[in-house]
Amino acid sequence: MNIYKYLALIVTVLIGIIFQPTLLARLSLPGATPDLVLVIVCCWAITKGPAVGAIAGFIAGLLLDVVPPGNNLIGVASIFLALIGYAIGIVGSGPSRSIVRPLLISGIGATTFFLLRTIWALISGSDIALYNFSVNFLTQGIYAAALAVFVYPGIAFLDRRLGPVSRSDELRMQ
């Protein structure tokens, strides 16, 4: 990771934060809203491993809670997402030519995140109805997998593109 990649990471997470509530939430698809932010975190974790996964998750979680319309306790989503990014980096990173693995991993990541947030809502004592839980749980995974089809190649491309060029820049600076 170099400075350009960290910038790219922040920009991609911001894109997720901006478009998820304005565009994806407005589609009003059946079930859950597609979780673009989480898919972006997953894809960074898959391409760059656990440390970057945890950092991406931390930044994304922080922004999710801070930027309107987010209104939760600041820090909760960043704990969940940092852990998810870290776990995915440990389990799912490494070279792979196939798109199937990132797809599956994003689906599992999204359902895990949803589960964690449901448990958190129950623990923190909000009165929530759970009739739609199974539908939301399933659609969450399916939409995340569908988004990963577009997001993963994009982030892998950014990673390749920003790789060697900026590393030599870094060496020159030292």
């Binding site: 950092i55 820090g75 989503a77």
Partner: protein, 308 residues
């Protein structure tokens, strides 16, 4: 391995920062440093979200226009450019007309209750994945909005304002689990609470009097808070869909379907000045059949032409 130890340190540091933030916010509970972080981020990111929202509108318009272009090309080449132009204008007027209709509905409800309102558009919709239902709207402190004002739309109550930045405001919707609204059954004085449960199409109505008479189809309006804040009186909320029989409990509860479709909000308005007199039931949509105590076997015999 040295590398994995470093990675664990990174994770530990990030988690520590997160826990510190949680602790900070729990201690300050809504004011202090976390609140100013929220305001700064609202001022920085909301303009971007506003333009993203505009972009999504134009994508929708473009999509419909593009389909028209392709059929036009097959039929008459010469008319193509003219056709695009006209269709595009048409697509735009459709959108404008729809918005005007919503505004008309808003004005009507505001006029009937003589509320003073500030109209607004919804910028971003909280996805409800964390069970909190919040939206941000494009008016803020510079338009005279403060916290704890009622937000209504053409067909009824939407929610209340919970935090105000310079030019955007966060609105907590009826479906939010933290939302509680004092309400009564239209035409009666039975009091209760409407609360959200994290689902956009369904609210819980808890009536204080366990012997109160309530049935399917009863309409619920706001009771109104002291000084009209956070909730002004007489705003329609929704219709009872089922009554839960709960013998032995101190309160009676029912399920209510809100009049406003909370998951697809667009134009709303913030009530900045409540009416001087309580509008009572005058804002409820007209009953489909004559107001009789016995429910008729065929529910929607005469569909009401007004109210969308």
């Amino acid at each position: 391995m040295r590398d994995s130890a470093r990675i664990r340190t990174v994770l530990a540091v990030l988690l520590l920062i997160s826990f510190t933030l949680v602790a900070l916010e729990l201690r300050n509970s809504g004011n202090g440093i976390t609140n100013s972080i929220r305001n700064v981020s609202a001022n920085l990111i909301s303009p971007l979200q506003k333009s993203a929202r505009g972009l999504s509108d134009s994508i929708q318009n473009f999509g419909s226009t593009w389909r028209e272009i392709r059929t036009a090309r097959e039929i008459v080449k010469d008319l193509e450019s003219e056709n695009i132009d006209l269709k595009e204008r048409l697509a735009n007027t459709d959108e404008l007309r729809r918005r005007a209709a919503e505004l008309d509905a808003l004005l009507k409800i505001a006029g009937l209750g003589t509320y003073e309102i500030v109209p607004a558009r919804v910028i971003a919709i909280g996805s409800g994945q964390d069970y909190s239902w919040t939206v941000s709207i494009d008016v803020g402190a510079k338009d005279g909005i403060t916290t704890d004002m009622s937000v209504i739309s053409g067909s009824g109550l939407v929610g209340r304002t919970i935090s105000v930045a310079e030019s955007t405001t966060l609105v907590s919707l009826l479906a939010d689990p933290s939302s509680k609204v004092g309400a009564r059954i239209g035409g009666k004085s039975e009091l209760g609470f409407i609360s959200g449960n994290g689902l956009p199409g369904e609210l819980e109505f808890e009536i204080f009097d366990p012997l109160a008479e309530i049935q399917k189809g009863d309409r619920i309006v706001t009771w109104g808070s002291e000084g009209g804040r956070p909730f002004v009186a007489g705003v329609p909320i929704g219709e009872v869909t089922s009554v839960k029989s709960s013998p032995g409990l101190l309160t009676k509860s029912a399920r209510v379907k809100p009049y406003v479709k909370l998951s697809t909000l667009d134009l709303v308005s913030v009530v900045v000045e409540p009416p001087r007199i309580d509008p009572r039931d005058s804002l409820l949509p007209p009953m489909p059949v004559a107001d009789t105590p016995i429910p008729t076997p065929s529910p929607s015999a005469t569909p009401s032409p007004s109210e969308n």
